[in-house]
């Protein structure tokens, strides 16, 4: 724990110097594109879908109320293909394509103290509606949704310093102030009450963040 605190202090030390730059223009919007693994919270997932996780892709757009605080919307897709249960046989059978489309409204706090800060921690959370769809071999597709919440935290690494020329072009051509690579973990909970099934899970994703 002590080591982590020391590390955070070291990371944020240069920030104080950069923070004395109030005239630098600040972005107002955040656009994220990301992808990674989704580990469903449902038990026995592996039995039906072959592995413990599946892939997830998402994107979000947020408006910055302040340089640190932003509100936004996020949409994603999660998909896997597996087997169903033949109840009287007691065996796995049929083909099931399971898809989730999480839609979230969130508030996010980014630990930005300077426009030149290269490492930014962030944390956020909000409301989630998890739309689901189950395509079952030769049966009616099951559709519905469940409401819930999510919490996420991550670290973003500024790419502006990696290629200043490209960063300058991004600003001049597209108005992008900063580009970050980020990694994050997200926990979602959305329970279908009638069957007590939590469609959420844990995501580990990486992606690009554009601030403009």
């Amino acid at each position: 724990m002590k080591k982590i605190v020391v590390l955070m202090v070291l990371v944020l030390l240069p920030v104080g110097a950069f923070a004395a730059d109030p005239l630098m223009e600040q972005p107002h919007w955040s656009l994220e594109v990301k992808g990674g693994r989704f580990i469903p919270a449902i038990d026995n997932w592996q039995t039906y879908y072959g592995k413990r996780y599946t892939s997830e892709y998402a994107g979000s757009l947020a408006y910055k109320i302040t340089r640190q605080l932003e509100f936004g919307l996020e949409g994603g897709t999660i998909r896997d293909k597996g087997k169903g249960l033949a109840p009287t046989h007691g065996t796995l059978a049929g083909e099931v394509v399971y898809q989730l489309f999480p839609v979230s409204a969130f508030v996010l706090v980014r630990g930005i103290l300077s426009e030149n800060q290269w490492l930014v921690p962030y944390v956020g959370g909000g409301w989630t509606r998890m739309y689901y769809q189950e395509k079952i071999q030769n049966q009616t597709t099951v559709r519905g949704f469940a409401d819930g919440s999510h919490f996420r935290a991550g670290l973003q690494f500024s790419l502006d310093g990696v290629d200043p020329g490209a960063a300058n072009s991004m600003y001049l051509d597209y108005g992008v102030h900063h580009t970050y690579f980020f990694i994050e973990a997200e926990r979602t909970r959305a329970v279908v009450k009638s069957v007590s099934a939590n469609l959420g899970g844990t995501s580990y994703q990486g992606g690009l963040l554009f601030e403009f």
Partner: protein
């Protein structure tokens, strides 16, 4: 001591001789499209996939041998005494340029250079071959298809250059030279060149321009005046003397067939001082890229092969194909066998036309064993069956039924097969058999009049695309082991409620309950097929979730809701399972039961009143 010295002297001599021999041995540098086509690499054979690297590595005396294929090149310059040539088919060995300037430049070669049996294409209107400050350059049996604005061959300060048996196809300038003499321009075809400079300068010494055909079509004037024609030897320069290529109309330059048709004026009208034909009339020489001693000996592949067989024994196969109209083709060989691509067991049928028959081909009994049938996998109204593969089987027959497997059959090319349209909960017996359809595989080749021919190598085209023709009835092997299976509704994981049948789902506990499935079927088949039903479904979806939530929050009322839904589920079952007539009968029967019960109760009540 003396013997030791002698030993070293001998060893040094052997080493020197071996090194000298290695240095002097000419190397054949084979260029292929794919590494897998490479011949075995030896001290005299090397393999490349890039043209420029092969030419750059070559030294005087080497050969650059192209396997058929299209090779993209930029601007290649060399001055070594080497031979560049295509091995098999001129039209299939293509150097494709995409830059301006010259594709091949021979600059300062002091001894012989030979370029033959290649097709040069370049959409960017460039120069094909530039010969500069060189001697003894020979360009023969090539096809130039460089497009408008291009010059096929440009010579400068290279008066010994000889250009023979080439075909210049739709090129602005065939040959351009800065001298009035060259080593010879013999037996070439200049086809529809778009201006008057098929050969420039027009003041070139006519003695070196012999036995060429200049066909301008409608694209330009003739290259010399009529008065000069008398000075020419054997040239044909008339607008109506079409060289009659087999197929020059293809827009794709790589698909054109510039062989000569039977009545072509270029047949046997070449200058024999340049050698004699190796195909066609071998006492004469033709003009163009397919004439002379270095021409291809392999005709183009025959296309369009189809065939059919008589339905009953004796089985005769009749095949037909598209003609290869090259004049040198004297006939066709129809090959056949029982395995694809292997025709070695039967002598080919020789025909001169484009149809051929194979009479009374034998049909043997195929040995088939029973496949092993695995446990069928259930799904909603379906069973997926799978089985082990059987050698010699060309397809499989699936047998199934309720009382026996002979009630229904279906064919499948391979395992697995999905049997559809079944009734959930009903047991079915299933078995599978292997099926073999006796068949013959055919291929056809075109050959010329040579004494001996070999497909794809000498005087005979490569095999056409293999064609399979079924002969005789399909033979079915023994039935597999029997399996029993019954379909049922599959429960997805997780078992989530659908947007629909909310009340029934709540009442029966889960979405996949059979009763809920019956109501879904009723919705899909009876309600959503008409406007009124669709409106009802929409109304139901709007209002039923609240009722479903109430049921979920009060589990005690679930039995009552189930009881209330029972008549509806029964009616839905009848309407979705039986024919309209049977449904009407069942409804009338139920109605009569109800009426009977009602009348009975009323009569009982009246009787009670009288007492």
């Amino acid at each position: 001591m003396k013997s030791k010295q002698l030993f070293f002297a001998n060893a040094s001599l052997i080493l020197f001789l071996s090194l000298s021999t290695t240095a002097l041995a000419a190397i054949t540098r084979v260029i292929v499209k794919d590494d897998k086509q490479c011949p075995p690499v030896t001290t005299t054979t090397l393999c490349y996939t890039e043209v420029d690297k092969a030419i750059a590595a070559a030294v005087s005396g080497d050969s650059i041998e192209f396997q058929p294929g299209t090779y993209s090149i930029g601007n290649i310059t060399f001055n070594t005494s080497i031979s560049l040539y295509g091995t098999e088919e001129t039209a299939k060995t293509i150097l494709s340029g995409n830059t301006t300037g010259a594709m091949l430049t021979i600059d300062g070669a002091t001894s012989s250079v030979s370029i033959r049996k290649l097709t040069l294409v370049n959409a960017n209107a460039s120069t094909g071959i530039l010969v500069r400050n060189s001697s003894l350059v020979e360009i023969m049996n090539n096809i130039f298809q460089l497009g408008n604005g291009s010059t096929a061959i440009w010579t400068t300060a290279s008066p010994s250059t000889k250009i023979s048996n080439n075909t210049f196809f739709l090129i602005t300038s065939g040959i351009f030279s800065d001298t009035n003499t060259l080593g010879g321009i013999y037996n070439n075809i200049f086809y529809q060149n778009s201006n008057s400079t098929a050969i420039t300068p027009t003041t070139m010494d006519l003695a070196v321009i012999q036995n060429n055909l200049f066909f301008n079509g409608t694209l330009g004037p003739q290259i010399v005046t009529d008065s000069a024609m008398s000075s020419w030897q054997g040239n044909i320069n008339a607008p109506d003397k079409d060289p009659l290529f087999v197929d020059s109309g293809q827009s794709d330059s790589t698909k054109r067939d510039l062989h000569l048709k039977k009545t072509s004026p270029c047949i046997s009208t070449g200058n024999t001082s340049q050698g004699l034909n190796v195909v066609g009339d071998i006492t004469k020489i033709d003009m163009g890229a397919y004439g002379g001693p270095s021409a291809d000996t392999v005709p183009f592949i025959v296309s369009g092969l189809t065939a059919s067989a008589t339905a009953t024994s004796p089985y005769d196969i009749t095949a037909s194909w598209s003609a290869n109209n090259a004049y040198s083709v004297t006939g066709y060989k129809l090959y056949y066998g029982t395995a694809s691509g292997n025709y070695s067991g039967n002598a080919p049928v020789l025909v001169t036309g484009t149809t051929g028959s194979i009479i009374n081909v034998p049909v043997s009994t195929v040995s088939l064993v029973a496949p092993e049938l695995y446990e069928p996998e259930p799904a909603n109204e379906q069973l997926t069956v799978s089985w082990s593969a059987v050698s010699n089987a060309t397809s499989y027959k699936i047998h199934w039924g309720i009382a026996s497997t002979s009630e229904h059959t279906a064919d499948s090319a391979a395992s697995p097969y999905v049997i559809s349209g079944l009734t959930n909960g009903q047991s079915y017996l299933i078995s599978v058999s292997a099926v073999a359809q006796p068949a013959y595989h055919l291929a056809v080749t075109a050959y010329d009049g040579a004494a001996s021919t070999t497909p794809g190598i000498s005087h005979e085209s490569a095999y056409s695309t293999d064609y399979t023709v079924n002969v005789g009835a399909a033979q079915e092997g023994p039935l597999s082991n029997e399996k029993t299976g019954y379909p049922e509704v599959i429960v997805p994981y997780p078992d989530l409620p659908n947007k629909g049948c909310f009340i029934a789902t709540a009442a029966y506990g889960h979405y996949s309950a059979p009763q809920v499935q019956i109501l879904r079927n009723f919705r899909d088949r009876c309600l959503l097929t008409n406007a009124a039903g669709t409106m009802f479904v929409q109304w139901y979806y709007t209002h039923s979730p609240r009722a479903a939530r109430f049921i979920n929050e009060n589990p005690a009322i679930k039995p009552m809701v189930r009881a209330a839904l029972l008549p509806l589920i029964g009616a839905a079952f009848v309407l979705t399972r039986f024919s309209p007539a049977a449904t009407l009968f069942i409804l009338l029967f139920l109605l009569s039961l109800f009426m009977g019960y009602f009348l009975y109760k009323r009569n009982t009540a009246h009787s009670g009143g009288l007492h």
